[in-house]
C-alpha cells in the first residue's frame, strides 16, 4: 500500500516522468545522456542551495538570504584568489565557515529574539549582497590552476560529460535525504515544522535545532557559491539575484508543504530536475522566449499549491472517518 505521506512525492515524480516523456516525444534528442549530464551540471548550484531550503521550509521557516550568500561566496573566493596566495581549498574552508556561521547567527536571531524568519533572512539577504558589493562591484575572473583541475574532472558516458559539480549536487542530496530521515536532527526538523509548542513539550531542543537548520542552509548556500564559481569561473556581486525564490519553487514543486512538517528532500531533487527540464525544452525549441520558463514554473507552482490544499482536505476527511471507525469498532467490542 502507498502511504498517503508519499503521495506528493509520487506526484512530483510522475510530473517529472510525464514532462520528460512530453519533451522526448517532441525532441527525441532530449532522451540522451548529454541532456541528463547538462541538467545536472547546469542546476548543480541551485540544487545544493535547495537542499538547505528544504530543511528550512520543513521546519516551517524560510531563508531569503541564499541568493545573496551565493553571490557573496563567489566574490569572496575571486577576491581572495586574486589578492592572496591562499590555496583554493583553504579559501573554500574559510568561506564555508563564514557562511555557516552567518546562517547560525540568523537562526540564533530568529530563535532568541523570536523574530519571524522572513524578516531576519531578508536582513541577511541585504547584508550578504551588500558585503559582496563592498568586496567588488565588478565581475572578478577566477584564474587558478586548481580551478582548472576541478573543472576538468568529469566522467564520460556515451560522449556525455558528467562533471564534478553535478556529482557534488547528487551527493548533497544523498546526505540531505539521510540526514532528514535517519538522524535525530532530521526528525527534530520535522517535529519543529509540525508544531513548535508541541515539539518543545516533547523535549525537542528548539534552540539547537533552529540554529542548526539555518546553519545548514547558510553552509549549503556557501557550497552552492563554490560550485557556482566553478561553473562560471568568476565572482560577481550582481549574480544569482532571486535564486532563493527558484529554490523555494523547487522545494514546493518537490511536494514540500510551505507551512512546514511535510515533505521530502528527494522531492526537491525532482523539483530541480523539472525546472531544469523546462529550461532545456525552451533551448531545444529555440523560438520560445526564455520567459516561458517563468510562466510554466508559475503554473506548476499554482498546480502544486492546489494539490497540497486538496491533500490537506483529504487528510482531514480521513481523520474524521478514522474517528467514526474507532467509535464503531469499540462499540462492537463492548
Amino acid at each position: 500500500m502507498i502511504r498517503s505521506t508519499y503521495l506528493p512525492l509520487l506526484i512530483t515524480l510522475a510530473t517529472f516522468v510525464l514532462a520528460y516523456a512530453l519533451c522526448a516525444s517532441a525532441y527525441p534528442a532530449m532522451l540522451s545522456f548529454r541532456v541528463v549530464a547538462n541538467l545536472l551540471t547546469d542546476n548543480a548550484f541551485l540544487g545544493i542551495a535547495a537542499v538547505g531550503m528544504t530543511f528550512v521550509i520543513l521546519s516551517g521557516g524560510i531563508d531569503l538570504s541564499i541568493g545573496s550568500v551565493i553571490a557573496f561566496t563567489g566574490v569572496f573566493l575571486a577576491v581572495i584568489l586574486r589578492d592572496t596566495g591562499l590555496h583554493p581549498l583553504v579559501a573554500f574552508a574559510l568561506v564555508l565557515a563564514l557562511t555557516t556561521g552567518f546562517g547560525a547567527a540568523m537562526g540564533a536571531t530568529i530563535h532568541y529574539l523570536e523574530m519571524p524568519p522572513f524578516i531576519v533572512t531578508l536582513a541577511g539577504m541585504f547584508l550578504a549582497r551588500g558585503a559582496a558589493y563592498v568586496l567588488s562591484t565588478e565581475s572578478v575572473p577566477i584564474t587558478h590552476e586548481f580551478y582548472d583541475t576541478l573543472q576538468d574532472m568529469y566522467w564520460k558516458i556515451d560522449g556525455a560529460r558528467f562533471r564534478l559539480i553535478g556529482l557534488v549536487m547528487v551527493l548533497t542530496f544523498v546526505v540531505g535525504i539521510i540526514t532528514a530521515h535517519r538522524t535525530r536532527f532530521g526528525q527534530n526538523v520535522y517535529a519543529l515544522g509540525g508544531g513548535e509548542q508541541t515539539a518543545r513539550l516533547m523535549g525537542v531542543p528548539i534552540a539547537a535545532t533552529t540554529i542548526g537548520i539555518y546553519a545548514v542552509s547558510g553552509g549549503l548556500a556557501g557550497l552552492s557559491g563554490i560550485v557556482f564559481s566553478l561553473y562560471t569561473s568568476a565572482g560577481y556581486s550582481l549574480a544569482t539575484v532571486g535564486v532563493e525564490l527558484d529554490a523555494i519553487a523547487a522545494v514546493v514543486i518537490g511536494g514540500t508543504l510551505l507551512t512546514g512538517g511535510y515533505g521530502f528532500v528527494a522531492g526537491t531533487f525532482f523539483g530541480i530536475l523539472i525546472m531544469g527540464l523546462i529550461q532545456t525544452y525552451i533551448v531545444f525549441d529555440g523560438t520560445l522566449s526564455s520567459w516561458w520558463t517563468k510562466i510554466v514554473i508559475g503554473g506548476l507552482l499554482f498546480a502544486f499549491i492546489l494539490l497540497q490544499k486538496g491533500l490537506t482536505w483529504a487528510a482531514e476527511k480521513r481523520a474524521a472517518q478514522a474517528r467514526l471507525r474507532t467509535a464503531t469498532g469499540s462499540a462492537a467490542l463492548s
Partner: protein, 505 residues
C-alpha cells in the same frame, strides 16, 4: 499488589503546596497523596486550583512553598522535562503529539533507537508495535499520527508518557473531546495502567466518569483542599456539595414568571456527536428558559448548536411551526435569533472598534455591507441603547475595550437587541462583572421577558438562574437530565438533580 487496608506508601506525596500570583493565592497549603495502582481524581470548579496544582507537580510552575516526595525521596522538578525524567508524565486534553510524524516517531521522538549515528527505523517500528500492542492497539506505527482518531492519539500520548516516566501519570481532561465509546477505549487503557501499579491522576468535569474510573478523590475549592475521600464511600451528591460548597438552603424567591405566550421555537433531537447528546426543547414567547449544569455539562454547547456556531449533525428546529435550517450564525441571525457568547473578550467584542461600531455590528451585518445604515440612524440607535441599558462611557467613539466588564456586556447585549431579536440566547451573561451591573442585567432579562421576547440563558450562577427562569433545564455530562418548573426551581433542587445518580438517562 495486595489490597492493603492501611494506606501504603504513596508514590507521590505533596505536602503544603502553596502558589501565589500577584494579588491572589492560587494554592493554599494543598496536600495530595497518590497511591500506586490507584486512580486519583482531582475535582473542583473552574478556578479551584486544579491546573495550578498540576503545573506545580510537573514543574511547569515553581511552587512557593511545600514539599514533594517521590517514592520517599524529596524532589524538586524545575521543568516538565525534569519531572518526566523523575517519573511524572502528563497527557493534556489537546493531544500534544505531532500529526505530521508517524506513530512510532511520535512515541520515540528524542529517544529513538539508533545504530551508530542513524535512527534504526525498522527496530523503532517494531518497538512501537510492541508498546502499542500492550495497550490493545493493533495499528501500523509507520502511519502518520493524523490518520488516527483523537482517542487513539490520546492512548499513544499516554503510551509515550508512561514509557518515558512510568511512576505517575497525570491525565488533564483527557476525555473532553471524546464521545462515549472513545471514553470506554481510554478507560480500558487506564485500568490496565492501574493494574501495572501506576499512580494515575485524573482530571475531568464529568462526574460519572470520575465515579466510573477513580478510586480516590481530592476536592479543591478556592485553592484549598476541601477533602480527600474514597469514592466508594461517598455519593455524587456529597462530591458536588463539596465542590460547590454552597449552603443548600432554599432562598425564598419572589418570582413573577408571568404567562408564557405562543410557542416560538421547537427544537427536536438536535445534537452533535462528541459534543452534546440530542436534546429537545420548546421555547415560548415571553419565557426565560434557564440552562443549569456544572462546567463542561454542555451549556455552552447547547447554545452554540442552536445558534449554528457549530452545525448540528442531527435533529431539526422549527420556528413558529415552520421548519428552518440553521447551519451557521448568519442563518440564525436571519431568523431573528441572537447569541451573546460566554467569552466576550474572544467571541464578542471587537476591542479596538468604538462602542458605537460594536453596537451596530450585528444589525449592519444582517443588512449586508452593501447597504450601510445612515450615520444619523447609527447614532440614534447607539444613543438609545446606551441610555436604555445605562452603559457608562465617556463617548461613543471610545474603543470598547476601555469599558468595564459590565459595560462591555451591556454593549454586547445592545448589539443584539438592536437587531430586535425574537429569540435571545445568553451564555453566562453575568460572568466577571461587578455586583451592580449584575443586578441590572438580571433586571434587563426580566424586562425583555415581560416585553414578550423568548430567552434562553445559560449560567453557572444558580441563584441568578432561579431568579429569572420560567423553566430550568438541567444538563449533566452533555445530556439534558431534567426540566424543572414552578416551585421546583431552587438552587437546592438543581444541585440535587446534578448530583443524583438516578437522574433520567
Amino acid at each position: 499488589m495486595k489490597d492493603v487496608p492501611t494506606p501504603d506508601r504513596p508514590v507521590l506525596h505533596a505536602r503544603g503546596i502553596s502558589k501565589f500570583f500577584p494579588g491572589t493565592i492560587a494554592l493554599d497549603d494543598v496536600s495530595v497523596r497518590l497511591m500506586p495502582g490507584e486512580v486519583h481524581a482531582l475535582l473542583g470548579e473552574n478556578g479551584a486550583g486544579k491546573s495550578t496544582l498540576i503545573k506545580c507537580l510537573t514543574g511547569a510552575y515553581r511552587r512557593d512553598a511545600g514539599v514533594m516526595e517521590l517514592d520517599g525521596q524529596e524532589v524538586d522538578p524545575a521543568s516538565t522535562a525534569e519531572s518526566q525524567r523523575l517519573g511524572i508524565g502528563t497527557v493534556y486534553q489537546e493531544v500534544n503529539l505531532l500529526p505530521n510524524l508517524t506513530v512510532a516517531e511520535n512515541l520515540f521522538l528524542g529517544r529513538q533507537p539508533t545504530r551508530g549515528r542513524f535512527i534504526a527505523r525498522r527496530r523503532m517500528n517494531a518497538m512501537a508495535r510492541e508498546v502499542l500492542e500492550s495497550y490493545g492497539l493493533d495499528i501500523d506505527p509507520a502511519e502518520p499520527l493524523s490518520g488516527y482518531s483523537v482517542a487513539i492519539q490520546q492512548v499513544i500520548a499516554i503510551a509515550r508518557a508512561v514509557d518515558m516516566s512510568g511512576k505517575v501519570l497525570i491525565l488533564d481532561e483527557p476525555t473532553a473531546s471524546l464521545d462515549h465509546d472513545e471514553v470506554q477505549l481510554l478507560f480500558r487503557v487506564i485500568r490496565q495502567l492501574k493494574a501495572r501499579g501506576l499512580a494515575v491522576v485524573f482530571i475531568t468535569h464529568f462526574l460519572d466518569q470520575v465515579f466510573d474510573i477513580s478510586d480516590r478523590a481530592t476536592v479543591l475549592r478556592n485553592g484549598q483542599v476541601v477533602g480527600e475521600c474514597l469514592l466508594n464511600e461517598v455519593t455524587q451528591h456529597d462530591v458536588v456539595t463539596m465542590m460547590l460548597g454552597r449552603q443548600l438552603e432554599a432562598r425564598v424567591q419572589n418570582r413573577d414568571t408571568g404567562r408564557a405566550g405562543k410557542t416560538l421555537v421547537e427544537i427536536s433531537d438536535l445534537g452533535k456527536r462528541g459534543m452534546i447528546d440530542p436534546f429537545s426543547l420548546t421555547i415560548h414567547e415571553g419565557e426565560v428558559v434557564g440552562l443549569a449544569g456544572l462546567l463542561g455539562s454542555g451549556r455552552t454547547e447547547t447554545a452554540n448548536l442552536i445558534f449554528g456556531v457549530v452545525p448540528a449533525d442531527q435533529g431539526k428546529i422549527t420556528l413558529r411551526g415552520k421548519a428552518i435550517d440553521i447551519t451557521n450564525p448568519r442563518d440564525a441571525v436571519a431568523h431573528r435569533f441572537a447569541l451573546c457568547p460566554e467569552d466576550r473578550k474572544v467571541d464578542g467584542i471587537v476591542g479596538d472598534l468604538s462602542v458605537r461600531d460594536n453596537i451596530i455590528l450585528a444589525l449592519q451585518a444582517r443588512q449586508g455591507w452593501m447597504r450601510p445604515i445612515p450615520r444619523a440612524k447609527v447614532e440614534e440607535i447607539a444613543q438609545s441603547y446606551v441610555r436604555a441599558l445605562d452603559i457608562r462611557l465617556a463617548s461613543l467613539d471610545m474603543p470598547i475595550r476601555l469599558l468595564s466588564g459590565g459595560n462591555q456586556q451591556k454593549a454586547l447585549l445592545a448589539r443584539w437587541l438592536a437587531t430586535n431579536p425574537d429569540f435571545l440566547i445568553l451564555d453566562e451573561p453575568t460572568r466577571g462583572i461587578d455586583v451592580g451591573a449584575h443586578a441590572e442585567i438580571i433586571a434587563l432579562i426580566e424586562q425583555l421577558r415581560a416585553d414578550g421576547m423568548a430567552l434562553l440563558v445559560a449560567s453557572s450562577e444558580l441563584e441568578e438562574l432561579v431568579a429569572y427562569s420560567t423553566r430550568v433545564i438541567v444538563l449533566r455530562d452533555r445530556q439534558q437530565v431534567r426540566e424543572l418548573t414552578g416551585d421546583d426551581i431552587s438552587p437546592a433542587t438543581i444541585i440535587d438533580v446534578i448530583a443524583t445518580e438516578e437522574a433520567a438517562r
